[in-house]
Amino acid sequence: MKRRKAVNAVKWAFGLLVAIVWIFPFYWMIVTSLKPESYILASVSLVPEVFTVQHYVTVFTKAPMVRWFANSIIVSVVVTLARLAVSSMAGYALARMRFVGRTVIYLAFLGSLMIPDEISIVPLFIWVLKLKLDDTYWALIMPQLAGAFSVFLYRQFFLTFPRDLEDAARMDGCGSFRTFFSVVLPLAKSATTACAIIVFSFVWNDYLWPMLVSFKEPWMTLPVGAAIFNPVGFQQTGSQFGYGTAMAAIVIVALPTLAFFLGLQRYFIQGITREGLKG
């Protein structure tokens, strides 16, 4: 029994460690954002001695946060819906239908999963400039639509989907499209939720591509725009904001995704474990 006690102590100590290393940074972000700048630099206290919302006021007056939020929502929602539509159909065809070229197409899609996206940023960037699509939703949305992993997620799902239902629909005189959209797709909810959550959070948090194609502030997404408050102060941004304002900016960026994650945690985890290993 002595040993059991020791094991329990280790368990609790480990839990505490996790709490400090994984929870504290978020807590510290929130606390810092609520302290006046002079207090932030003068002392370390785990609760704000003096509360202020000044940093949040600064963030909203210095940056078009609402516009960035809208951009992020528009881009993420459009990309998610479009990808669900095209990849569910493609995944279904690859899993169920017989056609010339299926193997070649399947292998091409599979191969593309191995290729880092960064290989196409130079050519896509040149095209965006040539077509004068910089600072538009087109540039933010189009390249995100071709990710192959969602096709695989659906393909895997449809491979195990019972055939009887489709046969029954055929008997009733449904064509391929009717069968797919009114019988098969409504029953693919678990694949759709997993895919939607993974694609949405990936696009919402994406950094490199949206940074490249948004030159003017109104076209930035939240993660890209919030970086203007980064106190590291790169040569190119020359941030003049203190840590309080920086933390307030990222609290605003983090809150919607954290709420989204906490609310849908179950589906997140199902999505990753059951089908979406390639997030």
């Binding site: 978020f26 017989r98 197409i105 490199l208 997140f268």
Partner: protein, 311 residues
């Protein structure tokens, strides 16, 4: 491909009828399939395949946005061998990967084992360890820039209250790569933990119980049952993490912008500064191909060691 069935006389059937009867490997072709696969295929060809070929073309030019591009043959490729920065950023990336990959695998395995058996804290731990992955890299990076700040950051204040010297976590040459690697592990372990939990739950309980009945200790069970059974999941996360750590960019750009003196610049940060700050796009295209090549080499080595991964 052959025509199915006898073609009867001077067809009442017509072209569409004949197409409908076309067979492929013995069964009828489903023509609707092309409409199903078409939209995605179009996106794939235009947004994935065509850019790769255009990128290869760009790599043979001195493409920049200010002047008309000229074909310069292999010059950009030769430059790779004379450019000291290529060696530097490649080494930096390898060093980061060398810390991040084992770090992530070990820590996520510890968490998965910790959380797997349900008890009071297991759900809480799982939620909080996963949380960083749910927020943008901007958030993660800026939080840590603040915590690791040399003068005012809470970590150094804590250290100096213990009588230890302050460390320039993100500004000293020796600490910058370990710091970035640590933040990357912090950020990513939740995701891999979830994959490993799924792997753990696939291990049949009878197996573990039987081993215990036969007198196996916890340690023996771990090394002889749990770890071998987890092998596919572990190989998967190693593969994913190798590819991910070769592509590290956001946290570096936001935390150090490659500094001090380029000591934390990665392959992708170099692609970024070459192509999109100096607009030397031809050379940036070559650097992207180098990244691709590196990824392929690592995937091949991984394949040679562990065999195929079942996604």
């Amino acid at each position: 491909m052959k025509l199915g069935g006898p073609i009867e006389g001077k067809s009442v059937v017509g072209l569409s009828g004949r197409l409908r009867r076309l067979r492929y490997k013995g069964s009828l072709i489903d023509w609707a399939a092309y409409l199903f696969v078409g939209p995605y295929l179009l996106l794939f060809l235009s947004m994935k395949l065509a850019p790769i070929f255009f990128g290869i073309f760009v790599s043979f030019t001195n493409w920049s946005i200010v002047r008309a591009p000229k074909w310069i043959g292999l010059k950009n490729y030769i430059r790779v061998f004379t450019d000291a920065w290529v060696g530097q950023v490649w080494t930096n990336t390898m060093l980061i990967a060398l810390l991040v990959v084992p770090g992530t695998v070990v820590v996520s395995l510890l968490f998965a084992l910790y959380v797997n058996r349900r008890w009071l804290l297991s759900n809480t731990v799982r939620t909080f360890v996963f949380a960083p992955k749910a927020v943008a890299i901007t958030v993660t990076s800026m939080i840590w820039v603040w915590i690791l700040d040399k003068e005012k950051g809470i970590l150094n204040i804590l250290l100096s209250s213990l009588g230890l010297p302050k460390v320039g976590w993100l500004t000293s040459i020796s600490w910058v790569i370990p710091s970035i690697a640590a933040v990357t592990v912090w950020w990513g372990v939740g995701y891999y933990m979830v994959i490993l939990i799924a792997g753990l739950q696939d291990i049949p309980e009878e197996l573990v119980d039987a081993a215990h009945l036969d007198g196996a200790s916890d340690r023996q069970v771990f090394w002889n049952i749990t770890l071998p059974m987890l092998r596919p999941a572990l190989i998967l996360i190693i593969t994913l993490e190798i590819i991910a750590s070769l592509r590290i960019f956001g946290q570096v750009q936001l935390m150090t912008a490659g500094g001090p003196g380029g000591r934390s610049a990665t392959i992708v940060s170099y692609i970024y500064s070459t192509g999109f700050q100096r607009f030397d796009l031809g050379y940036a295209a070559v650097l992207s191909l180098l990244l691709f090549l590196t990824t392929m080499v690592f995937s091949w080595v991984r394949f040679k060691i562990y065999g195929d991964v079942d996604y």
